[in-house]
């Protein structure tokens, strides 16, 4: 398996459960070392270009990376600190655009799975990252939230960003260059 | 010969020490052989099924 992703492109990975979608995403993010082959960023292996690659990467996985004992705003503040180049979007505004502005000061323990997913996705707005890696971003989201996420991805692609995501839903990503790779369980 | 075994009164200690060494080294040798045997059997079973 080998694929290339260029600016302004969206790549959707589809495949049955257990076909290795999540492992692929985690390998792309450098969280899991690849048994064979390499991940290249600006055609340099990411192990040698750790700083450059991670400063342009934003990842939202199954495990949202949200602390239950912190409020949504506090969680985003941490993401702001961790971001290599934080964007001008404030925490309040980011949560607002994801439709959870009102529960900014609620502990994430009390939020529903859909709301927690939105807090995780709000991380994408808080930092300027060229490359988005999203693992099943649309699950647990209601119709209205799914549309917001699709617009978000659309704008990011239009602005020249890159998105790699896994999803079962067949959604039209409003006309972007959209490729789908199907993972067979070889 | 009995003089040798008697070891000037320390026979019990000397031979138990050497006996223990023989035991442990032998155990390692047997363990290694066993692992090799199991690995070979596993591979043969695996290739047998492949054909």
């Amino acid at each position: 398996m080998s694929f290339e992703l260029k600016s302004g492109e969206l790549l959707q990975i589809d495949g049955a459960n257990g076909s290795g979608k999540t492992t692929l995403l985690r390998t792309v993010c450098g969280l899991v070392p690849a048994d064979e082959g390499n991940v290249y960023w600006c055609n340099r292996p990411i192990q040698q270009n750790r700083q450059g690659y991670f400063s342009q990467l934003a990842f939202v996985g199954h495990k949202h990376g949200i602390k239950d004992e912190l409020t949504a705003a506090e969680n985003l503040e941490i993401d702001q600190i961790l971001a290599a180049n934080p964007s001008s979007v404030s925490v309040r505004e980011a949560l607002g655009r994801l439709g959870i502005g009102e529960c900014r000061h609620q502990l994430c323990r009390e939020l529903s799975a859909g709301q927690r997913q939105r807090v995780a996705l709000a991380r994408l707005l808080v930092s300027i990252a060229h490359f988005w890696v999203l693992d099943e971003p649309l699950t647990a989201l209601d119709q209205e939230a799914q549309r917001t996420v699709c617009d978000l991805v659309g704008q990011h692609i239009a602005a020249g960003g890159m998105v790699l995501l896994t999803s079962h839903q067949k959604l039209d990503w409003s006309g972007q260059a959209h490729r789908i790779i199907k993972l067979g369980n070889a | 010969m009995t003089e040798f075994l008697y070891m000037g009164g320390y026979g019990g200690y000397v031979w138990s020490a050497y006996g223990l060494c023989l035991l442990v080294l032998l155990a390692n040798v047997i363990a290694a052989r066993l692992r090799n045997h199991n690995a070979r059997r596993e591979v043969k079973k695996y290739t047998g099924r492949e054909q």
Partner: protein, 247 residues
Amino acid sequence: MWTWAHKFGSPGYFYALAGKVNPWLTALYIALFATGLYLGLVVAPTDYQQGDSYRIIFVHVPSAWMSMFVYVVMAVFAAIGLIWRLKLTAVLAKASAPLGASFTFLALATGSIWGKPMWGTWWVWDARLTSELILLFLYLGFMALQAAMPDRQTAWRAGAILLLVGVVNIPIIHFSVDWWYTLHQPATITKLGAPSIHPSMLVPLLIMAVAFKVFYLSLLLSRARAEILHRERRTRWVQELARSGQL
């Protein structure tokens, strides 16, 4: 150097080479053990101070040396494995661990058996025996960590880091235990000293030391071959070996 390491590092090549070398190594260590034991037990004179009980030294000291030697070898494998990601180092280190632990156990057991006639008790918190005991815990810790992690690759790289942390700490532990021993040392107990090394005692000791090293190398190769067969059972070269009846 890199092509050599890569060639040597390939499991198939290592498996064949080890297979050819091992029988010779086995014969060598048996011969060395035989001569060492003969010289040590029969030829070497009785010590005027400790009588014949000192003859345990021919097993105790080599296994103590080996316990330290094997841990350092495993730490070298760990460093190579982490820096150059040579898969073979994982197999070699994992194969060395039980051997190292056995040598450490032997050093402890023979040490306490040797101590009994001298001190009248089976265990004395002597500086060297205590360090050996801690070294045994380091071995067991590494093996426990390998057993606790299902994914082989993560288990090895975590184990490698533990080995490097361990090897850095060994001198510190050794120094502090020695220091602790001198602080609490009651005047009466003499350290577990070998008697003045008379040449006729030194020669068998060195032969036994070499015998232990060759034994370790031979066992390491055979355990590594088993581990390689297990790990590579799905690969083509193993299938061909099986079909051509060489297994």
